[in-house]
């Protein structure tokens, strides 16, 4: 009789643990769905996130880390300097605050 009761208690305890685990798993997936817009930002950070449980962070190839080729980046910088130079020349032609802080179309900063 005692053995039977002990077995029943253990079964109930096991069932309770299973229910709690299931509840926690279900709640997590619900939160993920709710925070869907934030996922985009998280994926960018994933490459530099710390190692988790014996899993090494993925080693990305150099090309993936530096998406813009260096030649293109140098052209962007040069274009930016030319645009800033032109903007500064405009300011010197007619010095005022709005010309000093006029917006740039430079792809380096936009």
């Amino acid at each position: 009789m005692e053995m039977l009761l002990m077995g029943a208690c253990l079964s109930v305890f096991g069932l309770a643990v299973c229910c709690l685990a299931f509840g926690a798993a279900t709640r997590d997936s619900g939160n993920t769905t709710a925070a869907a817009p934030a996922v985009e930002k998280e994926t960018i950070k994933a490459a530099v996130s710390p190692a988790r449980f014996f899993v090494d962070p993925p080693v990305l190839p150099m090309a993936a880390r530096t998406r813009v080729p260096i030649e293109a980046l140098l052209l962007q910088i040069e274009n930016h300097v030319r645009l800033e130079h032109a903007a500064a020349e405009c300011f010197l032609e007619s010095p005022n605050a709005s010309l000093l802080h006029s917006r740039t179309i430079s792809t380096l900063v936009n």
Binding site: L73, L74, I77
Partner: protein, 154 residues
């Protein structure tokens, strides 16, 4: 003769005399006129073509020469030759075949001692060239600071 910013206000014969002090230098495409840190003994007037003025910058762990300014015909380059400590603070190279007139500091100062009126005009023109560069880069620097502030406050 090209309209040269350093010789503005001089009588044509005076301008010719100053130019006669110089030496014409031909630069092939890609040739370097002077390098950052070199001793600056001559100031240059661009007679034809174009010069790129660059400064080194670290881009992805590589040192790259980044364009700071471009000078074309009629403009003056290398005024470090007349300003202590007489060292170039930029690198100048020719992106295309370019001709410059090199005026040595020694020749200019000797000439100035004998022709103070020309010295005054050239000094005034040189101060305009330097002043323009200062104002231009002051504005560019402030625009960059503004962007940094906007990024920080975003």
């Amino acid at each position: 003769m090209v309209d040269i910013d350093l010789l503005k206000g001089l009588a044509p014969e005076d301008a010719e005399r100053v130019l006669a002090l110089g030496k014409r230098v031909m630069l092939t495409t890609g040739a370097e006129l002077f390098h950052l840190g070199d001793a600056a003994d001559s100031i240059y007037l661009v007679a034809r073509g174009r010069l790129r003025l660059t400064l080194p910058m670290q881009v992805r762990s590589h040192e790259e020469d980044i364009l700071v300014e471009e000078r074309s015909s009629g403009q003056t380059v290398g005024w470090s030759a007349l300003i202590p400590p007489y060292r170039f603070t930029l690198t100048a190279s020719a992106p295309l075949e370019t001709e410059v007139i090199a005026l040595s500091r020694e020749a200019l100062t000797s000439y100035f001692a004998e022709h103070p009126d020309t010295a005054y005009t050239l000094s005034f023109n040189l101060s305009c060239v330097i002043g323009h560069r200062l104002q231009l880069f002051q504005a560019m620097w402030l625009r960059e600071i503004q962007r940094m502030v906007e990024l920080r406050c975003a």
